[in-house]
């Protein structure tokens, strides 16, 4: 008696496709995934469409249009478990920069006939619209973390995705702290672990791609960044990147507006 394989769907909202590509990038592991799950909906990889409902939906991208605002509810209804992947889906993404400005102004500058552009004032994470079962942070996500989430889902265990700081990852791989030893500004102490602390291992400060960690104390870090010589506008910019709309980063950047 062969058990039916769980059905996996991958959905795209406003995003660059980088996170979905991480799944395709899994190479050999992808075959193992395909062996264990029925890839039922994944337009980036295959045209085959299997009708829902789906056991696991991976959602990439943020909600930026009235149409997507509707569509995400359909996705939710068709999914047993819904996992958001990447900075766009979990925080609103780089396009969340519009949230600090007037998007109308952009459309009139960029498009010849802006009246055809139907877009929302804000770019928002999926969790602002529907219930999300698990969030996988990162711009882009780390493919081993994605495999970890899928494997945890398959064998009904808790995924090992710690929400602590990037500092812990630096320390576990024995990278010398770039902020303490070199005076290089770094967002590591307020950023969610997950990338494996890549930038500090190349003597760069963390850019915060994985968004805020649990209980982030951004205000304290900012005061230290000032001591390291950073000006208000520079601090605003470091918090306003891929995760600009994540609450802790958004508030911190706003605190540095003149």
């Amino acid at each position: 008696m062969k058990k039916q394989k769980p059905k996996l769907a991958v959905w795209k909202f406003a995003s660059c496709d980088g996170c979905q590509l991480s799944l395709l990038d899994c190479e050999d592991h992808l075959l193992a995934v395909a062996d264990r799950v029925d890839i039922a909906y994944f337009p980036e990889a295959t045209r085959a469409v299997v009708k829902g409902p789906y056991d696991l939906s991976l959602v990439e991208g943020s909600v930026t249009t009235p149409h997507d605002e509707e569509r995400i509810h359909q996705v939710r209804r068709a999914s047993r478990l819904l996992v958001t992947i990447g900075a766009c889906a979990t925080a609103g993404g780089i396009q969340g920069l519009r949230n600090f400005k007037d998007v109308k102004e952009f459309t009139t500058i960029v498009y010849a006939s802006p009246q055809y552009i139907e877009t929302l004032k804000k770019s928002t994470p999926i969790s602002d619209h529907v219930r999300v079962d698990f969030e996988l942070w990162g711009c882009p996500i780390n493919k081993s973390q994605l495999l970890e989430v899928i494997s945890a889902f398959l064998y009904r265990r808790k995924p090992n995705i710690p929400a602590h700081s990037v500092c812990i990852e630096c320390k576990l791989r024995e990278t010398v702290c770039v902020m303490v030893a070199h005076g290089t500004p770094c967002l590591g102490p307020v950023t969610h672990a997950g990338c494996g602390a890549i930038c500090p291992s190349y003597h760069r400060g963390c850019y915060g791609c994985f968004g805020p960690k649990e209980t982030p104390n951004t205000a304290s870090l900012s005061s230290w960044l000032v001591r390291l010589g950073m000006k208000n506008d520079a601090i605003l910019r470091v918090f306003r990147t891929f995760n600009a709309n994540a609450e802790a980063f958004r508030k911190e950047s706003q605190a540095h507006e003149d």
Partner: protein, 391 residues
């Protein structure tokens, strides 16, 4: 009386050779990422010759020293604990071979934690860190819950201590009675003596193994003048010490001041990043994580260092016990210097200063204790002050 011997700088490699000959892997200070980090070494040339450091809260700078010495720096970014208590370790692994619910036939299967463990010889361990190793011994090798990996590595360990000639900017071993001179817990202890016409090490042994190795390396007995020179060096080291901490009735002080406003002050600055605990040579907390592969044929259990600053660390049914940063910082500091004494009969702090230097925002354990002591509400005396000895 313990005889002291002289090892010339140029024959330090014969000491290393004698240890390698005994199948030890040498680990010691090296230059890495502009800091003095402990890694595997082969010869004296791997040591940071002519380098020193400047340390303060949240700041470490490697500097060229004006002295041509090998050990003119204080504690670095790493602690020696990583060699005895590895940051990540596989504890258990099983492969599905037969039916869906059967583990692999040889049980327990091979894994990193139980296999043959490395035999380390640590070169250049300072007095504070010798005390830290003794503290972790109590945790991992002396209690009722022993750690087999730690025990195996510890049993093999050979320690070459170096007496401090450099009081670091954040050091306070003198306050904690843990230095700067190594008095026990080593196989060999060296004091580096640099004079106009010679560069030597005064060597003493602290174990039979140490004495044997020493006999093999040198026959030159130290003169009275060498011993006095070494004493001067270690005494000088204790003069400029970056920090100090008054530990008088420290348990009473902390147990009676759980609501001290200073905890709010610390919480406003603390990032809950966990760096302080990871660099601390005595912090021993770890967590265990279970993994499966995609195919569902392999299961694995791994252990890694964990920190009491993580929300998950105090997660019990229904939520995290220490949800605020205030409660986590207070837990860390109080455990380090107070409840540790109740638990293990010794302080959990040896005054190495690492948590001060490597805190990204320079939070200083000595300053926090001082502020709590200095500005207590009147009803928050220590137990001894109210005439109640704490036992």
């Amino acid at each position: 009386m313990k005889p002291f011997f002289i090892i010339h700088r140029n024959s330090l490699d014969s000491l290393f050779g004698a240890l390698v000959g005994r199948n030890f892997t040498l680990v010691g200070p090296t230059l890495r990422d502009r800091a003095v980090a402990y890694s595997e070494i082969a010869t004296v040339n791997d040591l940071p010759f002519g380098w020193t450091d400047e340390q303060d809260g949240g700041t470490y700078r490697l500097k060229k020293s004006d002295r041509q010495t090998l050990f003119d720096y204080a504690a670095g970014p790493h602690s020696w604990k990583k060699f005895l208590f590895p940051p990540a370790l596989q504890l258990w692994e099983a492969e599905r071979q037969i039916g869906p619910h059967e583990a692999s036939p040889e049980y327990p299967p091979s894994h990193e934690g139980r296999g043959e463990q490395p035999r380390y010889a640590m070169i250049g361990v300072r007095s504070c860190d010798l005390h830290a190793i003794a503290v972790q011994d109590k945790v991992f090798a002396e209690g009722s819950h022993r750690d087999p990996t730690y025990e195996a590595r510890r049993k093999n360990l050979f320690i070459v201590a170096v007496n401090c000639s450099h009081g670091g900017g954040t050091c306070f071993c003198r306050s904690m009675n843990t230095g700067p001179r190594a008095t026990s817990g080593f196989d060999l202890a060296l004091t580096e003596i640099l004079e106009a016409d010679r560069h030597v090490f005064l060597a003493e042994s602290g174990s039979d193994r140490g004495a044997q190795v020493l006999r093999e390396v040198t026959q030159e007995e130290a003169q009275e003048s060498d011993i006095r020179a070494a004493e001067r060096i270690t005494a000088d080291a204790s003069v400029p010490m970056g920090r100090l901490m008054d530990t008088t009735d420290i348990r009473g002080l902390l147990y009676n001041n759980y609501d001290h406003p200073r905890w709010d002050h610390a919480a406003a600055r603390c990032l809950a990043c966990g760096n302080c605990t990871i660099v601390c040579p005595t912090c021993f907390c770890n967590t265990v994580e279970d993994f499966t592969d995609l195919a569902g044929t392999r299961a694995e259990r791994r252990r890694r260092w964990d920190v009491c600053f993580a929300v998950d660390f105090s997660y019990i049914h229904g939520g995290s016990v220490r949800s605020t940063i205030r409660s986590r910082y207070r837990q860390w500091l109080t455990h380090k210097v107070a409840t540790w004494i109740d638990q293990f009969g010794t302080s959990g702090c040896v005054g190495c200063g690492r948590c001060i230097t490597w805190c990204p925002v320079g939070i200083d354990i000595t300053e926090e204790v001082r502020e709590i002591r200095a500005n207590r509400p009147d009803d928050r005396k220590t137990l001894s002050e109210v005439g109640h000895a704490h036992t």
